[in-house]
Each structure stands twice: as C-alpha cells, then as structure tokens.
Symmetry: C2
Subunit: 217 residues, 2 copies
DNA sequence: GCTTGACACGAACAGGTGTTCGTTGTATAA
DNA sequence: TTATACAACGAACACCTGTTCGTGTCAAGC
C-alpha cells in the first residue's frame, strides 16, 4: 500500500532529523513539523509506517523509532559501517602475507559503508607502496581492499604472486588453453602471458580507494 | 586531561548504544550499564565528557547527547556517514555541470565514512564514463568525489575544462611563469602545457573509488 | 587540624513523552 | 439508510527523563 502525503512527509522528517541531530525525533516533534497537533494522530501514522516496513518502533521508549533499510538511500543510513583491517603494504617485490589476528584483533582499520562493500567476509585492506601497480591504474598510496582466496574466475582482478619473477602484481586473470593471460587494467597496455604453475593467486581485488586529500590531524 | 575508567566505560557504552539502537541512551540507561545508581553522577561525568570534547549535549532534551569526532577510529564508529550527491557522469568531451538541488534535493547519493571524507562542504560525486582519464589512473566506471571550486593550489589534482580543446581532463595543476603545467598522475607520462586563459578549473578531486565487484541487487 | 576540590550518592521536581480513550467526520459498501 | 473502516482530534494519564540540591567521602595542600 502506498503512503499518504502526510506519511511521506513524516518519514522524510524522521530521516532528516535523525541524520542531522543524531537521534530520532519524539512524537510531538514529528507532529509539529508536519502540522499535526494531536500526538495520537502521529502515533496512528507511525504505526502505519511501521506496518509498511519503513520504520521500526520500540514500545514505551522515548524516541524509540528507527529508520529501516528501504530504498538504496536509506540502507546506507541504517545498515552501518564495515570495518576492514588494514594489514599492511603491498608492493611489487614482496608477496602478500595475511597475518592472523592477534588476541586483541587488528590494530588499524578502514571504515567503509555497506553501500560500497556488501560482504565483509575475508576482506582485508593494503596500502600500495611504490609505482609498480601503475599498469593496474593503481597509484602509490592507494588503498586496495581484497578478499583472500587462492582461486579466481576468469576476468577477476586478482593479486598474483609470480614465482619465477618473485613479484606481486595486480591484473585481470584469464585462463587460456595452456597458459594464463594477465591483462592490465589499462587498455593501452599489452597482456602478459605466464605458465599456470608460475602464478599463485593471493586474493581478489574488491575495491580501490584513492585519497587525494589527507585528513587534518 | 585523561578520562577516568568510569568515563571511558560510559563513552564506550554511549558509542555502542548509539550505533546499535540508532538513538543515544538516557542518563539512567548509561547509569545502569556502568553500575551507577544515581543520575546526578552520570550527569556529572557527562559534563566532563562534554568539557573534554568527547560528546555534545543539548540541554533539557531527552537523549540529548551525541558522540563527537575524537580519535580516528571512534570518528568512524560514531560520527556517521557522509552523503554525497552523485550528480552524473564525467567524460572527456563534456564540461562538468553542477545542477542546483531541486526542491527535494538530489536523487542519488553515495555514502562514505567520515574517515575518508572530513568536510562535506561543496562535495559532489561523478561517475567516470569512458577511458579518457586513464592517464589520471582513473578507469571507466570509477567514482570521483570532487569539491567545487574555481581556483586551485599548485599540485592539486583538479578537473579542468580546456576551452580550446573542448575537453575535460583530470590532472595535477602547476602554475609556471607564463603557462600552466598539467601533470598526469601516471609518472610515466609526460606533462601537458597550456596557456593560463585556456584552462578553467572546475573542481578539486578529493577521492577516487573503484568498485571491482558490483553489488547484488 | 582545616580547607579545598574532585567524585559520588539519593531524593525530589518539573516538564517531556508514549499510550489510551472517547469523539467526530468522511468516504465506501451493503 | 445503516454499517464499517479509515483518518483525525484533543484530553488525560502514567511513566520517563534531565536537572538541581543537599550530603558524604577521600586525598592533597596548607
């Protein structure tokens, strides 16, 4: 069932209020914002919003309402953060090593929203050191978020360790008859062919973040 | 001044509670969680947390407290999201146009954490269309977050509109004596020199995000 | 010893807050 | 017309909630 105009205004107000003030509004705050003098009318419409799945309510608790994941826009507001451990650096000359979490877990994290990352399972982040990943369109200082896995599907952007060359590289991987094609992300660059037993997949690249402007302390 | 153990526990509880429940706790909820029976004691310590800059309080408002940006890690956990309007596409052949917000604001947003973006002012996002930004290490489909401004400092990565060439490009900008040097992010590529009156700065690039793996619907 | 300040406790209070109830008006179907 | 459901109103109520006040303890400094 569709929402009435009043209910839409209420929902928008709740969303805006929650975002700006860091807390949900009270029934009376909602009422005065949309021009309802009676708290019971607000309550009545809140129940409808709840029934329709737009908000969650907690009984007899002040400000006991919460926006629920709805359209893509509100998902982000509701679902929360994903914390991904920042495990270290990635460079051409060294294989990626994923240390096990110590007793207290990892020290450094990068926070992303669920809009960017859906499944946190097995994800970790590395900061790129040096210019060796330029052909993957990845620069010094960029952060790559990877999922740990030893296999890859055709076309996946993966981090591979080349045993002979003793080198880590980020490329798209395609299996061909007797060899593996490693395709740079930069379309102007030529692919690289290697024997299958020379490559060791270390993980799949899920996200790349480049901060041009560092935070103020 | 450092926080007492009690105040740290209170702060952690407020952070956790706010994140999990979507609303800040009441004084009594804080009290019972850290084992304080008196509301005035909680109030006393909340005032200290406020004085030390950990929280903001609003007088005589239920649940009127809010976590404030503090350590880098807690910022992300507490302060919340930044919603940046996704205004459209950026391609080589067209200038960037920033439409004014309509009556209902913008439609599409990208959510980022405050860890990645500190100041939301004047920021907007564009999705890159085509391969023309390869020399800025930016690929088709990447999202660039920019800050609208007409001027730039030396070394800023900016989006410029080249009037003669009728082209948008992303480069690092350096003013030299009589000309402007546009330096590609890719260090293997050569700079590009233009006359000062040929360039029109459209904004500064703040962040680049590349999603290798698209979300499931 | 005395004072001072930090920290803590419980009680009381005024106003905030969600809930409930009776009532009214208006469509729509029987 | 009558009945029913929907939408809205205002009042009353009980509990929640932030604030304030008086009191107490303890360690540091004089």
């Amino acid at each position: 069932m569709a929402l009435s105009e009043r209910q839409q205004k209420m929902f928008e107000f709740i969303t805006k209020f929650s975002r700006e003030r860091g807390r949900p509004p009270t029934i009376r705050e909602i009422g005065s914002s949309v021009g309802i003098s009676s708290t019971s009318v607000v309550n009545y419409n809140l129940n409808i919003l709840q029934r329709e799945g737009f908000i969650a309510r907690e009984k007899e608790v002040s400000r006991g309402l919460r926006i629920i994941a709805q359209g893509a826009k509100t998902i982000a507001e509701a679902a929360g953060f994903v914390q991904i451990p920042l495990l270290g650096k990635i460079a051409a000359g060294i294989p990626i090593q994923v240390p096990d979490a110590g007793p207290g877990g990892y020290d450094d994290f990068i926070s992303l929203t669920r809009e960017l990352i859906q499944d946190q399972e097995g994800l970790f982040a590395l900061r790129v050191k040096g210019n060796s990943m330029i052909d993957a369109l990845i620069n010094d200082g960029d952060i790559v978020v990877m999922k740990k896995q030893e296999t890859a599907q055709n076309g996946d952007m993966v981090a591979v360790w080349l045993k002979e060359e003793k080198e880590t590289t980020l490329k798209r991987l395609y299996r061909e008859k007797s060899r593996i094609r490693l395709q740079p992300a930069n379309p102007t660059m030529k692919p690289f062919y290697v024997k299958a037993d020379n490559v060791q997949v270390q993980g799949k690249v899920v996200l790349v973040v480049r901060q041009l402007q560092r935070m103020a302390a």
